[in-house]
């Protein structure tokens, strides 16, 4: 491990302490860690004094960071380990750096690179997405192609899907995203400090708390701000309420996708009740305006504690009953069981995170491995079913609703009426680096900040769990019936905007 610097979650480190390896050594070090079970948390490029550099954060049960200088082309790591696949394509798209020998070289979000240099995907950005990219096709007498999107049939975000099918069976699903690209990372590097939390909250609206926690913690670390215990309790409760609301909404939608309507109607309404609890906490159903660097803007008073506690007591049995209705219905289980299976080996190879990973038997949970806020003092969840299918993903989410409810009930009496945070100016430490990781409802969210000599943000990198998990959705469709796509899709429920940034 000489080639890495071991860091803690949210620990400020001097950039000078991060190893600066020759590229070949960097490549070998990352690959060797990946082959020993290490996973990629962050792997990105940035420009420093006219020279492109790479930086990687890897995790085992610890966090490791390392870096190197990179030329215009380099020998792809993906050729030896699929864990790097999407990261290398992103590096190519953002900085025009070519990964030689990459097995699936295509754009990620479809935008010109930051340097304004030659495009490594040979796209002309005057053309509409997807530019010059020929989709992967399968040829044969009865093989056909189904194209869906970007505008889908419901009220959902845009993305393009290509299914290569033989009759009803799907050989291959290719997912092209990028329609939601808003330039989040570049905004973070250019806008004034007061806009940072507002943009962080809208990276992925359903993960408002997850992303704003990452950003706040990263800024707190670099600016040396301390957060009081009361604020930590509020933040943890808010993150768990976000998790419950999303899990409940999706379990209802899964039931709807197999044409079992009553649970969908009940969970549709009950999800709103949990959003309203977040509104009681912070004045907004998605937790907007609640988490800010240095703490939270609203305290958890006696009134809020009682309202939340009473509502949870009312809702918990209802949720149990509706879940029982879903998971004891033979018609539901017949559709959930052994549908959309991702094997443990595949999940490991592509680095699935969150409940999708846990449903495949990858136990990683950032709340346990790299705890922030109150998580070090809270018990972990155990997963009963890890077969990698729709039923496992549903079951893990059912278990997590129970687990999160218990955590909130444990935390509510621990509230402390310490002052809420007032808007403050902060100064980030110069020439520093921090990586922040939180287990949001979909899985591992991570933000990285690199500051320059003046303490300004030189590079801001965001990674939503969907960045890992979209590949999992594509794999789950292999050799499945195309009519099971909605079911598989909803069992992952990935973020388009979180991926597209």
């Amino acid at each position: 491990m000489d080639n890495f610097l071991q860091v803690q979650n949210n620990q400020r480190v001097a950039r000078a302490d991060i190893p600066d390896l020759p590229f070949e050594v960097f490549r070998e070090a990352l690959l060797s860690l990946a082959h020993q079970g290490g996973q990629v948390v962050q792997f990105f490029a940035y420009e420093d004094r006219g020279q492109n550099r790479l930086l990687a954060v890897m995790r085992t049960d610890k966090l490791y960071v390392t870096g190197c200088e990179v030329a215009e082309t380099y020998l792809s790591l993906t050729a030896d380990s699929t864990k790097f696949h999407l990261f290398e394509r992103e590096i190519g798209e953002q900085y025009g750096i070519q990964a030689e020998g990459h097995p699936w070289w295509k754009m990620v979000r479809y935008h010109p690179n930051y340097a304004g240099g030659t495009d490594v995907f040979e796209n002309d950005y005057q053309q509409e997405i997807p530019g010059n990219y020929p989709y992967f096709t399968v040829e044969g007498k009865t093989v056909h192609e189904v194209a869906v999107g970007p505008v889908h049939a419901g009220i959902i975000e845009p993305g393009h899907f290509r299914f290569q099918c033989l009759g009803e069976r799907v050989f291959h699903l290719e997912i092209q995203l990028g329609y939601q690209h808003r330039g989040v990372e570049r905004l973070f590097q250019t806008v004034s400090a007061n806009r940072l939390p507002i943009i962080a909250e809208t990276i992925a609206g359903d993960t408002t708390i997850g992303h704003s926690l990452c950003q706040s913690q990263a800024i707190e670390s670099l600016a040396g701000l301390t957060v009081n215990k009361g604020a930590k309790v509020v933040r943890t409760i808010a993150l768990e309420l976000e998790r419950i609301a999303n899990h409940i909404g999706d379990l209802g939608a899964l039931s709807l996708d197999v044409a079992f309507n009553p649970p969908a109607a009940y969970f549709g309404r009950i999800r709103g009740e949990y959003l309203n609890l977040t509104q009681i906490l912070g004045g907004n159903r998605f937790g907007r305006g609640l988490v800010r660097p240095g703490g939270v803007t609203q305290i958890l008073g006696e009134e809020q504690e009682q309202l939340i506690s009473a509502k949870l007591a009312e809702l918990t049995p209802e949720v149990e009953h509706v879940n029982d209705l879903i998971f004891s219905s033979p018609t539901v289980l017949a559709r959930f069981d052994q549908t959309g299976t991702v094997s443990h080996a595949d999940a490991e190879a592509i680095g699935l995170v969150g409940y999708a990973g846990r449903a495949c038997g990858l136990s990683y949970d950032a709340r346990v491995a790299f705890p922030t806020e109150c998580y070090a003092d809270l018990p972990r969840n155990k997963n009963e079913r890890t077969d990698g299918d729709v039923c496992s993903r549903g079951t893990v989410r059912r278990e997590e609703i129970r687990h999160s409810t218990q955590m909130i009930n444990t935390l509510l009496p621990k509230r402390q009426e310490e002052p809420s945070v007032l808007p403050q100016e902060w100064q980030l430490a110069p020439d520093s680096f921090v990586v922040s990781i939180n287990e949001a409802w979909r899985g591992e969210v991570s933000h990285c900040i690199l500051t320059d000599a003046a303490g300004k943000i030189q590079r801001y990198k965001v990674k939503d769990p969907s960045f890992h998990n979209w590949t999992g959705l594509a794999l789950s469709l292999r050799d499945e019936g195309i009519s099971d796509f909605p079911l598989c899709n909803k069992s992952f429920n990935l973020s388009y905007c979180g991926f597209d940034l």
């Binding site: 007061n194 806009r195 609206g205 004045g283």
Partner: protein, 247 residues
């Protein structure tokens, strides 16, 4: 089967009586901001400087609801002496200028186009387009189909095909990668058609204003008929706007 019946009885009837009966939202909810007109200019200036959305005009003291994300910063900074966020969620307007406000909006029902009421008052089908939205606007629009709001009882539906729609409901700052899809979806809707901009993003770019990767303002692409402010708009804000504009 027994479980279905037991759950049905437990769930009961949950549909809201709004708009026949008013709904009081929790006092922490940040709805329509109310401006204290005679507060010191220095305080207005401080709030305007701090506002991340540049939504406060220091001369007229108006707040631009098309830019505001209702973060509550100005209320905290001024301790309620310049701005106070009320629990009033009825904020839809038919005109962009009306969104610049001191806390009072013209009655939406009187400003809607009369032929829209005649055409769509009994049946309105909308095609939703997410164009760079963060999925919060989308989620809180989708929620209108749940039993509490039960949008369909008003004859309003979100449909799958633009060919079946009477108009479009757009969320997001119109990412450049969605510009063409927004225009072709709009073209596929038969005339006469309505255009609804929902959320700060589609009205002004929202949190993403200034980004090179977004168009930032739906009105610059297609003339907008109805504006629904918020980040995201509360489902009741959307419901109120739809009912008052079309009914």
């Amino acid at each position: 089967m027994l479980k279905v019946i037991k759950n049905r009885i437990e769930q009961g009837h949950r549909t809201s009586k709004y708009p026949k009966e008013p709904i009081q939202l929790y006092h922490r909810f940040r709805g329509m901001p109310k401006v204290v007109k005679d507060c010191p200019a220095e305080l207005v200036g401080r709030c305007a400087d701090a506002c991340p959305q540049e939504a406060i005009d220091r001369k007229t003291r108006q707040i631009d609801l098309g830019r505001c994300v209702f973060c509550g910063l100005c209320e905290t900074l001024s301790e309620g002496k310049f701005v106070h966020f009320s629990q009033d969620f009825e904020m839809g307007t038919s005109c962009r200028e009306d969104l610049l406000t001191l806390g009072d909006l013209p009655a939406l029902a009187e400003h809607s186009k009369k032929h829209f009421k005649k055409l769509f008052g009994r049946s309105l089908q909308l095609r939703q387009i997410s164009a760079g939205g963060c999925n919060a606007c989308e989620a809180d629009t989708n929620v209108l189909n749940t039993p509490f709001f039960d949008l369909q009882r008003f004859g309003i539906q979100f449909v799958a095909s633009p060919r079946h729609a009477d108009g479009i409901h757009v969320t997001g700052p119109i990412s450049k990668n969605m510009r063409a899809a927004v225009l072709s979806t709009f073209e596929a809707v038969p005339s006469p058609k309505v255009v609804i901009a929902s959320g700060a993003c589609s009205i002004s770019g929202g949190p993403f204003y200034g980004s090179e990767d977004v168009v930032g303002d739906l009105n610059s692409l297609i003339p907008v008929d109805l504006y629904i402010p918020g980040c995201p708009p509360h489902p009741l804000t959307t419901l109120h706007a739809l009912l008052n504009y079309f009914k």
